[in-house]
Amino acid sequence: MKTFRIGGFHGKDYKLTGDRAIEQMPVPDKVVIFLSQHIGAPAVCNVAKGDKVNVGTLIGKAGGFVSANIHSSVSGTVVSVDPVADGSGIKKPAVTIEVEGDQWEEGIDRSENLIPECNLDSKEIIDKISDAGIVGMGGATFPTQVKLSIPPGSKAECLIVNGVECEPYLTADHRVMLEKSDEILVGCKIVMKALGVDTCYIGIEENKKDAIKLLSSKADGGISIVPLRMRYPQGGEKQLIDAVINRQVPSGGLPIATGAVVQNIGTIFAIYEAVQKNKPLVERIVTVTGCYVSNPKNLKVRIGTSISELIAAVGGEPDNTAKVINGGPMMGRAMSNVEAPVTKGTSGILMLSARDTVREKEQACISCAKCVSACPMGLEPYLLYKLSYRRLYPDMESEKVTDCIECGCCAYTCPAHLPLLDYIRVGKAETMKIIKSRQIKK
């Protein structure tokens, strides 16, 4: 079975909700929709306090090339356009809407009927995706239309669909593959058409045997299912390309250099809904889970719903909860504010007990190089850590810190319990600043 060539590790997957069907969460009383839910320029707000909006009304227009539209996920009245604290307690511009009824914009098809045909050409498809404000839903939230617009000089050869979901606990993509398999396959064909390619690989890890079986039985017309060996971080874009078509993205280069375009399963489903049903990205599936949670679920929620409501929907926080994590246990972030809303990139909410989150005492690095063999990008985490600790940021650039995908394999495997990723992340941000200021000078 295929997998990527270097680094990573295989651990227990804790998929507690893999067999639980997606549940529709009731529409909340109030939503907070951030104007920046994607990588790139924040959207520009085009509503004011007191405005009436419907589900699917554009409330924020893309603020640049790398940006995405933001739509209202409920119908009601805008009560505020002031900044609101996100899960980290940092205030971000947002639109707060009080819900009245559930009135959808005209032209949005809310029926469950499958529409298999798509007669649009490539440009029309990309325009529709761009209008719907679709971003990468695996967590990176990179605007999808940018990814589908192939830069001049490059050529797309195949589409790789990311059904790996290598983060432990998360099952949102798994459930979509099982429950929306036909829509996924139509979505793949739409994206293939947009890219002008005739091959598509859906990479799925072997712990989702039912999804592999179901999709394999239905796939046709250039789409093939690639079962992959379980290994974290296989869901990383560069690792997935390596695993599926055995090509490596050059350091500092874009994945398109290998001829592959990678899209997440959730994104494919959102593309299907946007292109075939005119539905903008106003809902997403969030896995709300944890070993001690009484009733973990996969919830379909409106974007902007408070995370505390999601927690209440699974039976509340268990008493021994020490951390609530936005995302999976490896790459997610502990939250300091659970009143923060769900965004386009919220793939899971995980409640971990004190025993699971204990930080062992740090010891000195003995240069055992476990982090080096764990790094899927072939970096030297112990060195980057030391450089960042001493604030030698210019030296980190030559050590390729910008290639780091922040997967956390280094810190996970470190026998000295050093906070490798914490420091590397700081160093990466500082190095990015240095690079950016240099580009501006030019």
Binding site: S88, G89, I90, R333, P419, Y423, R425, V426
Partner: protein, 293 residues
């Protein structure tokens, strides 16, 4: 025996040959260094702290010797005295700067600022600030992980475990600025040390609106403008909901300290106040106070 002799002879031979070659190479490629640099470097404190902006004292000495105009160069550790003696030695005019000291502009001790969550991560302010807003509701103030104390080469700044805030020992502080650069929140500022080490400063940098600041911290600056109104010397300005005292204009009358409703303005090394009756608010009272100081 002969083996021993030969090996010794060969080794000695190589040694002699190498020394001869090295002697000529050293002559040929000798780097001429300005003879003034070495004595200048000796006059500098030798802390290699980087407070001057150069990599160390040698680089600073080079710059001092090379540049004709040294007014922009200053060694904060040595201070005006050192700069004057160096300038006399080099025959240049010395830059004059008043002695400075680092001040921590946050008074959000455990008793003043409630902790609403716990940071369970790397013991470092820069890591904590890269991840989230902090353990309290104030997203501007001191995070209390002590990055400033780790970078201080003079042991002048230490964490106080009772308050969770760093404290500066003004006798040890050389105003090199290492802590200022280390603090990701920009809490620490270099301020004029002041006559007789007396100074008044606003111990808060919270730019949130008054109500939000008040909720987060009992001693935060709420930008109420009271101090601005009471200041007779126009030394205080309120920008972005936070007051700032211009040390060059402040005449240490302490009216603002009394006026501040939250106690965000701090005085250092000022003598204890006389009984309330003598703290008059008219102009003459201010003048006499200033003279006393």
């Amino acid at each position: 025996m002969s083996t021993l002799f030969y090996s010794l002879a060969i080794l000695v031979g190589i040694g002699v040959l190498a020394s001869v070659i090295l002697f000529f190479v050293a002559k040929k490629f000798k780097v001429e260094e300005n003879p003034l640099i070495e004595p200048t470097e000796k006059m500098l404190p030798g802390a290699n702290c980087g407070g001057c902006g150069f990599a160390g004292c040698h680089a600073m000495a080079e710059a001092l010797v090379k540049n004709d105009d040294i007014s922009s160069l200053f060694c904060p550790v040595g201070g005006s005295e050192t700069m004057k003696s160096i300038a006399d030695f080099l025959g240049k005019t010395a830059p004059e700067k008043e002695p400075q000291v680092a001040v921590v502009r946050c008074n959000g001790a455990f008793c003043n600022r409630q902790r609403v969550n716990v940071f369970n991560g790397a013991d470092s302010c820069i890591v904590e600030s890269s991840l989230y807003s902090g353990e309290t509701l104030c997203s501007w103030g001191c995070l209390g992980k002590g990055d400033c104390t780790k970078v201080c080469k003079f042991g002048a700044i230490k964490m106080n475990s009772d308050t969770g805030l760093p404290e500066v020992d003004q006798d040890k502080c050389t105003a090199c600025g290492a802590c200022v650069n280390a603090c990701p929140k920009g809490v620490i500022e270099l301020r004029k040390k002041g006559i007789k080490d007396r100074r008044i400063f606003v111990s808060c940098i919270n730019k949130d609106k008054g109500g939000i600041t008040r909720k987060a911290c009992s001693v935060g600056c709420i930008g109420c403008m009271k101090c601005v109104k009471v200041c007779a010397f126009e030394a205080i300005k309120v920008e972005n909901n936070v007051a700032y005292i211009d040390a060059s204009k402040c005449r240490l009358c302490r009216k603002c300290v009394v006026e501040c409703p939250t106690g965000a303005i701090q005085e250092v090394n000022l003598p204890p106040r006389k009984p309330v009756a003598s703290v008059s608010s008219d102009e003459t009272g201010v003048e006499s106070k200033v003279e006393q100081n």
